[in-house]
Symmetry: C2
């Protein structure tokens, strides 16, 4: 197998792309002026006409010989004979002599002999006579031929990105079409047997196509065009067929397929269509699955299948390099071995600027994509120290709002909804939340940490971790208990204990509050964990436990009541846990934070609220 | 006549508009996900599915029971039996027992019994056996059901402006359509007998439609829709017909008509269509011609005809209020009497931020539109002092580049083109250029100032105005002389003098170099200005003089040779003038400035270049 034999550096890959782009970017098309906004001029534009094209009135009034008005003032008007009238757009062969004038509308052609216009406000008309109450100097209220733009004058320079004002200028000189550089057109193909369109009903074993939608939207924000050619199964002939159709675009993007096998398929398809492979694998994390090929002069780029990786590699190859902000990196991080790493980060805005949190849940997660404001580049084998400066390459706009960093709970979503707050919720677990509060990054951290010694929640940990400048606000009580399929029919904890060695368990991950609770339960009832079936099978969320039970992969597990109900499972409570909110003092009086606390008190939550819900219980 | 009887404040006008917009902005439509970028969510979006919807492999490799691998290392591989294989999207009823494994592709469903995946890199396959060279803990390389997004979880909140990443999330949860707030749709009608489309050939007395194109482009950058209904003559029935058609849009904009009479026409048309007038005239400069009416629930807004005024009033009523920058105002300015003034400004970027230059050539000029980066708001009867802080409301992006402020010459355009420079050329005359150099705003000023006493150009003025920190670079020599129609047949200055009292002259404005030259000529030859026909008729540019002569409005006038040739006129030279470049020392070594000087030397100009062209002749 010739898998990843021709790993290239990112610089090599980019120079291959840039060379092709340079050629494509020189192609010119003519667009209608109504469609020219934001396009880049491919020509210097000169005016063929004078603007205005004739001497014209700037105001409604009377076209006069200025010297006839010199004696006029409010008490002693001068009377002139009105020999005609001129509206805008009207052409008449009128000429005035001394003592005469012409009624004239704004924009109308100045008649011969006239050298000024008196505003209508300073006149009084009586049939063919008009009294002038103000003297005007020569040229008053006249806009002269070519005084605005001269024929032959350069009005817009090549490479100008057209604004609404530029387009007004082009209209003014009678340019109804304009030569601009062609928009690049990307042809998009999704690949993968497991990929289906969001239009379709989800079947077991399938997932929805994400990358095509992310890519198309990003391509549009970059000002490029696209055409979507649908989803190709992992089938060489189908893939070749789609690539052939997409060859009418400038660049073809393949995405969706996640496995190395897909790369081989793409490589074969390109070769069999008479193309060649320029790059198979880029020496960065996550560039390994990237393929760059060429058929005739068209680039075919196979992007990684994981959503964040796909967007990252697309941005590296085709994005706006200048879209960068500086940030502090709040944690310690060691890069991937032997490869430069393009690490997705979530930006948290605070008074000293931005902090860039690494997104560590893996680029396979769609929430990683959702949270990733951009990425940082970390050199091979380099360690980033806490609070080091980094440059973040942005995927467009940074979302700002309240920073909620800690343990994830569906209650937080409900509170945010009730308070109508847009927040960044970063799920790093309870302990991660405590630390981010200490670093001054989180505004609010949801935590539920059981101290085994005192059998109390949260406060002992704040003291252990020496948290300062923060307060703990009482949240709500989550019921933890056993979830199982209803047909098992247990009515009490005792019945469960009776059958415990026969049951297939699914456990939670070490360090989670639920795991601590399960271990405490086993200890309290003198049950040997080694005899529990499935004790070593760990799931990371309540939901994953419930799914395993609902799908009969396991019989029973510990979790919160809300999730058990969602999955239509039976539930027998074991303990109550306090899910509280640690809030940075500095932000405590902010409107958003106060609205959050208000909503915590008023929102209808699927949890019990203690009487002191929403009150400060520590650090006030 | 009930002209401007119901002048409203800008606040009243805006509150009328905002009330209507609020209603319109609540209308919701469903769009396809490919078209959702930048749209604003009109609903909270919850996920109906778990993501991933099944436990899946994160890597290509072998699904195993983790405990089977605990003894494995590079020297002592563990051998497992491969009981089958699973690709992404494949559904098979496989279950592994101890000692067994399944070959698995990234994204494939984890088979029953497996709790970890060993990466293919750490394995060696031999038929139905595989050697495992690395131990894996439970959960390794598995992404669990719902661990990314739980069913029932809020994934995007109402009012989110959708980014590419958000759209990826929507695709992931199978949302192929999404509810967003409707885009406002503006119906655009141009009005005016003199207005023609840029598609048409220019006829005498007509001008091209500008406002429709500026407005449409601006509407697009604000994210709104439009439909263009063409140009209506100043005819009530035609206007009513177009308004009736445009009523299918949310808001109708009328623009182009410049005179107060047009306002009356609009008012009558709206009333005869059963509508009412809410505002006729806004108490700001330039808001007087604005009309706001309503037919049923549709707003009809008549905007001022002058391009910059039109864009300003549109921006005030419909633009993004937050698009504001701070700047210094470099000159003294007294606002319009009795009205708040919205003064268009051009922004000049320099090391201390922005300076906002007032655009004083009038909002009738299309170049005012081109130059206006935005506007400032000046209270009634208020004086802005030199260097006062102002807030500039922007019309979108600010254009930056070299600042060339001074006398306008076609030679500057040629040099800029040769040097391929994007520059802001602000034409404030030679003296204005000198002053802007003194204020540190202009980088380069083109000047041609004749000192009558010494009969030399430019340097005496720099000393008189105490210019420091600048150098004067020798430019080129412009030939001034008499321009006249060829059939007049003069061969020399003497022949002109012979016929001088019979000729119809057109003169230049006071303070212009050309006017000074003409007066000097008359004095030198003892000719009485009072006996010169047309001595008091003043034009502001060389081009306006040439036009008047070519169109037989006058016989003869003074101007530069280049323009005479453009207009196919005869030319008899009278004098040479030095057009030189004053350059701020601080910017002298900048690449742009050096390229400008290089191009000054090399460009083919329609002027004579002295031997020391491009050299410093003062202040070095």
């Amino acid at each position: 197998m010739t898998r990843y034999l021709t790993l290239h550096s990112i610089e090599e890959a980019k120079s291959i792309i840039n060379e092709s782009l340079k050629k494509l970017k020189n192609e010119v098309e003519e667009v209608d002026l109504f469609n020219a906004i934001g396009r880049v001029l491919a020509e210097d534009v000169f005016s063929n006409i004078d603007i205005p094209p004739y001497d014209r009135a700037k105001m409604d009034g009377y076209a006069v010989k200025a010297e006839d008005t010199y004696e006029a003032d409010e008490d002693n008007p001068v009377e002139l004979k009105v020999i005609g009238s001129l509206k805008a757009g009207e052409i008449k062969d009128l000429e005035i002599n001394n003592g005469e004038c012409v009624e004239i509308a704004t924009g109308a052609i100045i008649p011969k002999g006239a050298n000024a216009v008196v505003m209508v406000e300073y006149t009084e008309r009586d049939n063919d006579r008009v009294k002038i109450y103000r003297a005007v100097p020569p040229m008053e209220n006249i806009q002269f031929t070519g005084s605005d733009i001269m024929a032959g004058e350069l009005v817009l320079r090549k490479n100008t990105k057209l604004t609404p004002r530029d387009i007004g200028v082009l209209a003014a000189i009678g340019k109804s079409k304009v030569k601009v550089y062609k928009k690049l057109k990307f042809g998009i193909i999704s690949t993968g047997n497991e990929i289906i369109s969001p239009n379709e009903q989800l079947e077991f074993g399938k997932i929805y196509d994400i990358n095509s939608y992310t890519l198309v939207s990003y391509i549009k924000t970059l000002g490029y065009d696209f055409e979507f050619f649908g989803i190709a199964k992992d089938d060489k002939e189908e893939l070749k067929e789609k690539i052939k159709k997409a060859l009418k675009c400038d660049i073809i993007l393949l995405s969706g397929g996640t496995s190395a096998g897909v790369g081989d398929l793409t490589e074969t398809a390109i070769k069999e269509l008479g193309g060649k492979i320029l790059v198979h694998g880029i020496k960065i994390k996550p560039g390994k699955p990237t393929i760059i090929g060429k058929i005739d002069n068209k680039l075919i780029v196979g992007l990684p299948g994981y959503p964040t990786s796909c967007l990252t590699i697309f941005d590296v190859l085709f994005g706006d390099e200048k879209n960068v902000v500086k940030a502090k990196f709040p944690v310690r991080y060691i890069s991937a071995k032997g490869r430069v790493e393009y690490l997705p980060v979530i930006l948290v805005k605070h008074k000293n600027g931005f902090s860039a949190y690494p997104i560590t849940k893996g680029s396979g997660a769609i929430t990683s994509l959702s949270e990733a404001d951009g990425y940082i580049i970390i050199d091979e084998n380099k360690e980033i120290l806490e609070n080091e400066d980094v440059e973040v390459h942005l995927f467009g706009d940074v979302k700002v709002g309240l920073n909620i960093i800690g343990s994830h709970c569906i209650g937080v979503d409900i509170i945010l909804k009730e308070a109508k707050l847009l927040a960044k919720t970063i799920n790093v677990g309870s302990l991660g939340g405590v630390l981010s509060i200490k670093r001054g990054e989180a505004d609010i951290a949801g935590i539920h940490l059981l101290d085994e010694k005192t059998n109390t929640y949260n406060i002992p940990f704040l003291e252990k971790y020496k948290v300062k400048d923060a307060v703990l606000v009482r949240g709500y009580i989550r019921e933890q208990g056993f979830m199982f399929r209803k047909e098992l029919g247990f009515k009490s904890i005792e019945e469960i204990i009776e059958h415990i060695y026969k049951l297939e368990f699914i456990n939670r991950n070490k360090g989670s509050g639920t795991r601590i609770l399960f271990d405490k339960f086993l200890k309290d009832y003198n049950i040997n964990p080694k005899e529990i079936k499935g004790y070593n099978i760990e799931a990371k969320t309540h939901s994953a436990v419930a799914t395993a039970i609902a799908m009969k992969k396991a019989d029973i597990g510990l979790g919160i009541r809300t999730v058990a109900e969602q999955y239509n499972l039976a539930f027998i409570p074991l303990a109550n846990e306090h899910y509280d909110f640690l809030i940075r003092k500095e932000r405590f009086n902010d409107e958003d934070v106060q609205n959050f606390i208000k909503a915590l008190k008023t929102a209808k939550l699927p949890f019990k609220k203690p009487d002191n819900c929403g009150e400060i219980i520590w650090g006030g």
